[in-house]
């Protein structure tokens, strides 16, 4: 019988780190990631792992240290949130450009100003073009599973790219959920030994990292980076099927929930998908044909497969937990880009929810479903971009 445990998202990822026991971990405290690294520091202090911890003086230095350590030729992990990820931004591009297979937990948090420590996805969305692979997670179990799989994807010899595993700050990182941990030896066998490639610490075969490359070759370098991303889909799926064999849990590039016979659908990332699925089940009982698509692999983005899953719908509402001021929000843009090549495509709505940790409640999902139902039955036009659950001020 499986042993189920009740833990927070941060505890789950600290536990994954303990099982993986990376060579080097460099981190800086930031809410809501902080207690993940605190817990891991306990493991180091108690000798449960022999990872070299670098408790640095900023997130910029955390990512710089990870890059140096990764180039050195070993397994590297870190974690951050919101402004911490923003401070790393310059170095994110360096990590991917240098093919450093670093794995980072991103505990999603809003960006200032105004200062806000709670969940939204502005941090990871700001890093979506940095050449990092992005896996998103609905709950602690998915975050744990994604985190373990991330090492295999990152370190795959054909990929060698950094991966960020996103989970919602506080909503998942600090709330207790039921978890099925894998046994230590199973995780260790699954992740395997790290195979260095062009290690900086190989003094017999010296290599230079980080050259200046200007107009003659830079363009080709960036195209090559894009090509590697193309092979991430197959590797992510192969790793997932191996993981399914190990855990019994099945992961695709995205989760498709009751979409096959649906007329309307919701697209949403991370924890809000759980609330949506509950309300979708209720609506189904009332005869509303609604489904949901929850992207898991956001970078690279599986455009064709997403279009295949959504194009038969009449209305799709993309729920974004981050914004692009004066423009459509990031997830909406990807869904629109997926569907545009299709002759048959749904009416597309963009609804912004939950910024800075604003609660996303069942009634918000009901309102979204009602709005889509109205569009189908009364053929009314809808405002493409709106904010939901806004407070009314008098």
């Amino acid at each position: 019988m499986k042993k189920m445990t009740a833990v927070t998202g941060n505890e789950a990822l600290a536990e994954a780190l303990r099982q993986i026991n990376p060579d080097v971990c460099a981190a800086y405290p930031i809410t809501p990631q902080t207690d993940m690294m605190q817990r891991f520091s306990d493991f180091v202090a108690d000798g449960l792992v022999d990872t070299e911890m670098m408790l640095v003086e900023s997130e910029h230095s955390a990512m710089s240290a990870c890059i140096g350590a990764s180039a050195g030729g070993g397994r590297v992990a870190t974690a951050t949130s919101g402004p911490g990820l923003a401070l790393m931004w310059e170095m994110l591009y360096v990590a991917s450009g240098m093919r450093c297979p670093i794995v980072m937990a991103v505990v999603n948090r809003a960006l200032s100003a105004p200062l806000n420590i709670h969940c939204d996805h502005s941090d990871a969305m700001g890093a979506r073009d940095s050449g990092w692979i992005q896996l998103w997670s609905e709950n602690a179990q998915e975050a744990y599973d994604n985190f373990i799989m991330a090492f295999r994807i990152a370190e795959h010899p054909g990929i060698r790219l950094p991966v960020m595993v996103c989970m919602d700050g506080f909503i998942i990182s600090h709330s207790v959920g039921v978890m099925d941990f894998l046994a230590d030896d199973k995780v260790q066998r699954f992740v395997g030994n790290f195979t260095p490639q062009d290690a900086l610490l190989d003094v017999e075969r010296p290599v230079s990292y980080g050259p200046l490359i200007v107009t003659d070759q830079y363009h080709e370098y960036k195209k090559a980076q894009n090509e590697i991303m193309d092979s991430v889909f197959a590797v992510t799926e192969a790793v997932a099927s191996e993981f399914e064999y190990l855990s019994g849990r099945r992961y695709g590039l995205f989760e498709s929930y009751r979409l096959e016979d649906a007329e309307i659908g919701i697209v949403v990332l991370n924890s809000a998908a759980g609330t949506c699925k509950d309300i979708i089940d209720e609506a189904r009982e009332n005869g509303v044909k609604v489904g949901l698509l929850k992207p898991r692999l956001f970078r690279p983005f599986p455009y064709a497969a997403v279009a295949e899953a959504l194009s038969h719908l009449k209305v799709v509402c993309v729920l974004d937990r981050s914004d692009s001021f004066g423009a459509f929000a990031p997830l909406y843009v990807e869904i629109a880009a997926s569907l545009y090549p299709r002759e048959q495509r749904p009416v597309l709505l963009n609804r912004i929810y939950g910024l800075g940790g604003r609660d996303f409640m069942p009634e918000h999902v009901e309102a979204v479903i009602n709005e889509m139902t109205d569009i189908v039955s009364r053929r009314i036009a809808a405002t493409p971009k709106k904010y939901i659950s806004l407070r009314q001020y008098y």
């Binding site: 140096g68 070993g74 290599v207």
Partner: protein, 315 residues
């Protein structure tokens, strides 16, 4: 620990681990500094440079001048990038995946050290990483075209502190980076000049023999920025030392020692005169600047001598 000979007849037979063919300017002080430092180290070296002259001229597209492992990641983080490498070294050594002994050296300019890289440098020193940080100090952002930095000396005309009709060059003093580093209570801090090559190489040799964080600030003439003659790097560094503009000293385990005392302390004007960046200091209306510059140097020199005397007397 055995150290190898620094005699010229032995040095000429050593491999210079920064290969010819790099694109540094003819007469560049930084190239001389890097070669001297590498010659003084026998162990395998893993090096790191921030974005800057040395970096953009030594590793371009498919070519590298570095015969040793070398990494550049960005501008403000050379210390912590190499600290990451050094930490991985300790991790792999502990796990038996690496056995070879090696040493870690940063070569960074003053912009990447005094200014944008100071936070990461300070963190690395505080955390006690086993590496040597060498700053080749040419007193401005030379790679981007001689903009003022925290290392630019008082009075110097740069492209962002130009000597104009209202403001006569940089009016602020440079930071005392050696004292800032010494305040981290690290085992070894020193200042050196390529004009005194034996002193420079002995300091590098001593630094790499000590475990923990080490810092050496080395004068690095840049004739483009200093507007001096291309073959004057060594002559001008000698004047910097002998005017006491650039005192040669070290602080080992907190104890300060002058490693060279000029036989005759020359007026600072002798160091400033051959450099176009100080030409306006010699105009009669700017005579006060020359006097100020001399006063600052006299005060620093007197303070260093007093510290040494105080330590020698055991007080």
């Amino acid at each position: 620990m055995t150290t190898s000979s620094l005699k010229l007849k032995d040095l000429v037979n050593k491999d210079i681990r920064l290969a010819p063919g790099h694109r540094m300017c003819q007469g560049c002080g930084a190239a001389i500094v890097v070669k001297m430092a590498l010659l003084a180290i026998d162990k395998p070296v893993v090096a790191c440079s921030p974005t800057g002259c040395l970096e953009v001229t030594t590793c371009i597209s498919d070519s590298t001048a570095w015969k040793i492992p070398w990494i550049h990641s960005a501008f403000e983080n050379a210390a912590v990038t190499l600290a990451g490498v050094e930490t991985m070294y300790r991790a792999l050594k502990k796990r038996g995946k690496i056995s070879q002994d090696m040493t870690f050296v940063v070569f960074a300019g003053d912009g990447g050290t005094y200014d944008i890289g100071l936070q990461s440098l300070s963190g690395v020193m505080e955390r006690g990483h086993d590496l040597l940080y060498i700053c080749y100090d040419n007193g401005a952002y030379m790679n981007t075209g001689t903009q003022r930095s925290g290392a630019t000396p008082f009075g110097a005309s740069t492209t962002t502190s130009p000597a104009g009709s209202a403001v006569p060059g940089k009016l602020q003093l440079r930071k005392d980076i050696v004292k800032i580093m010494a305040a981290h209570n690290i085992p070894y801090v020193a200042q050196a000049s390529p004009s005194h090559h034996l002193d420079l190489m002995r300091k590098v040799q001593k630094a790499v023999s000590i475990s923990g964080p080490k810092f050496i600030n080395i004068l690095s003439p840049c004739h483009r920025g200093w507007r001096s003659k291309a073959d004057d790097a060594i002559t001008i560094s000698k004047l910097a030392v002998n005017t006491c503009f650039w005192p040669l000293y070290e602080i080992e385990n907190g104890k300060m020692k002058l490693t060279h005392v000029p036989k005759e302390k020359l007026p600072v004007a002798d160091f400033l005169k051959p450099q176009g960046r100080f030409a306006h200091l010699f105009r009669p209306d700017n005579a006060w600047m020359l006097e100020d510059a001399q006063r600052q140097i006299d005060a620093e020199w007197a303070a260093l001598q007093a510290t040494q005397a105080c330590e020698a007397s055991g007080n």
